[in-house]
């Protein structure tokens, strides 16, 4: 049986650990803010040359297209499968396109495109910069007269920031098509009504709200991943941990931003288009 002293010690350890966790979170948030400000400071004077920016854009944008298409394709079909049962119970199968397309454009398209980008590109950026940190390549950049933030972070930020809306559009597009194909060809929904109800309930604001969210997701992924890479500890374990942290932190921030931006954009919609609110 544990003694009273041991229980007190355990409580102290728990409180101590909790305090340390909170402090570490504040330090991380502060450090990430400073890192972001430094990057913003260099974005104009350190605008990357084409021969630096294009390879990064190719790696982040073009090479992500296949995985984004596969993800988008499955999301559309999964949404159709999941929603069909519910709609069929109420004999509303023909309105399946509404829920599939609204969910896809507003939520799952941007969120899953961002999660795939965080997994494929964020971890890789973090591991790449982490390796550069531990092999002194980042110091070498400084020694050779280049600013590491301008040379390494600005191009990655720009590539993520500018290309994620396009990747999201790809995910949306292929998701809409796969959702329609599965609903009409496999589940037997009428194609005319599928599009008719989709057109009636899906508006441009739904598409734009997804695109606006994606820009914030892209910026967060690049900044978090580069930050973790720049602060990687030495050795294979340190670099591996930086890559894992890049994905985990990006994922949490994507979900938190999705909630906050979703709420904000909904309120904005109600202000901009009060007559369209359905009661």
């Amino acid at each position: 049986m544990p003694s009273a002293g041991s229980a007190t010690h355990d409580r102290m350890t728990f409180v101590h650990n909790l305090g340390k966790l909170v402090l570490d979170l504040f330090i991380l948030a502060g450090d990430l803010t400073l890192f972001t400000l430094q990057m913003l400071r260099w974005i104009v004077p350190g605008w990357p040359r084409a021969n630096v920016l294009w390879p990064v854009m190719y790696q982040i944008g073009v090479q992500s297209v296949p995985v984004i298409l596969v993800t988008g394709g499955f999301i559309g079909m999964v949404l159709a499968v999941q929603a069909y049962e519910q709609f069929a119970m109420m004999h509303m199968e023909n309105q399946l396109g509404t829920v599939v397309n609204v969910t896809l454009l507003k939520e799952l398209g941007p969120v899953l495109a961002a999660v795939m980008l965080a997994g494929r590109v964020g971890s890789s950026m973090s591991a790449q910069l982490g390796t550069m940190r531990v092999t002194e390549q980042i110091d070498a950049l400084t020694a050779l007269g280049a600013n590491p933030i301008a040379y390494l972070v600005v191009p990655r930020f720009l590539a993520c920031f500018l290309l994620i809306p396009m990747l999201t559009l790809f995910a949306d597009g292929i998701g809409v098509l796969s959702g329609w194909w599965f609903s009409t060809r496999v589940l037997g929904v009428n194609s005319f009504y599928y599009w008719h109800y989709s057109r009636a309930f899906v508006n441009a604001y739904d598409l734009w709200s997804g695109i606006i969210k994606s820009v914030f997701f892209g910026a967060s992924i690049s900044l978090i991943s580069c930050h973790r890479g720049f602060h990687s500890r030495a050795g294979a374990e340190g670099v591996g941990q930086a890559a894992t942290e890049a994905f985990v932190y990006s994922f949490i921030v994507i979900l938190a931003l999705d909630f906050l931006l979703g709420f904000f954009l909904m309120e904005l919609f109600n202000v901009l288009f009060p007559k369209l609110v359905i009661i």
Partner: protein, 264 residues
């Protein structure tokens, strides 16, 4: 003789761990200063402080009498270009070819055209015994350790620095390649008249290249009142120093450290 770099009352800590304490060091123009000491005593940190790749916890770094922290960002970059740094593992950029690595600082900091840059890169590679048509297109991963060090040296020399810093230039190399690197250090000084700062634990390098030797000792093994710089003198003097800690390092003797091993 003018002082190019001066460290004044430098303290350096990484978190709770103190690395350097009350370091005062002046580097004279045209000379070769060699920093020696066992692993973890702060040699590489001292060299990074000299180039402002690290900032001291307290104390001042002066370049030609000017405080480094008084310099603007632009001035700092321009003055830093007067330094060439050969990193321990070469620190070549993995994603760039040998040619692009050596051309990096020329492309980054000058408006020279590509033909001139190609000529300079060819000449620098030749200075270190490499031919551009052989290694120019290769990636750093395809090079041996010695070649990587030589490409690192060519890259550091590309922009004609006044001061060359060598971080453990012979570590991990075979004795012949170590001697090649030592010869290159000497040749670079003779041809270009650069001031050199070398961090090493290789006593052959000390004997061959040093005008002045400074030995640092790990803080963990010092009493609070003892100075961290154990020795400051010529290469000949270091081999005849009476201080048992210096002679232990110079001769490479384990002595009481064996007892520490058995105690552990």
């Amino acid at each position: 003789m003018s002082t190019l770099v001066e460290l004044c009352q430098i303290q350096m800590r990484f978190g709770p761990q103190a690395i350097l304490r009350d370091i005062h060091l002046e580097v004279e123009a045209g000379k070769t200063l060699v920093l020696i000491g066992e692993s973890g005593c702060g040699k590489s940190v001292t060299m990074k402080l000299m180039m402002n790749l690290l900032r001291p916890t307290s104390g001042e770094v002066l370049w030609e009498g000017r405080r480094v922290d008084d310099l603007s960002e632009r001035e700092l970059v321009l003055r830093r270009l007067k330094f060439g740094y050969l990193f321990q593992g070469g620190a070549l950029f993995d994603s760039l070819s040998v040619f692009e690595n050596v051309a990096f600082s020329l492309r980054q900091n000058t408006t020279l055209n590509e033909t001139t840059i190609t000529d300079i890169v060819r000449e620098r590679l030749r200075d270190v015994g490499l031919e551009m048509h052989v290694v120019g297109r290769k990636k750093p991963a395809e090079l041996s350790g010695g070649m990587r060090k030589r490409v690192g040296l060519a890259r550091a020399l590309a922009i004609d620095p006044d001061v060359m810093l060598y971080d453990e230039p012979t570590t991990g190399l075979d004795p012949i390649m170590s001697d090649v690197i030592n010869e290159l250090i000497l040749r670079t000084r003779e041809r270009r008249g650069v001031t050199s700062i070398v961090v090493t634990h290789d006593m052959h390098t000390v004997r061959k290249v040093a005008d002045r030797v400074v030995m640092l000792y790990p803080l963990a093994r010092l009493a609070p009142h003892e100075p961290q710089i154990l020795f400051d003198g010529t290469a000949e003097e270091v081999f005849e120093c009476d201080d048992s800690r210096v002679s232990q390092f110079v001769r490479g003797e384990a002595r009481e450290r064996l007892l520490e091993l058995s105690a552990a």
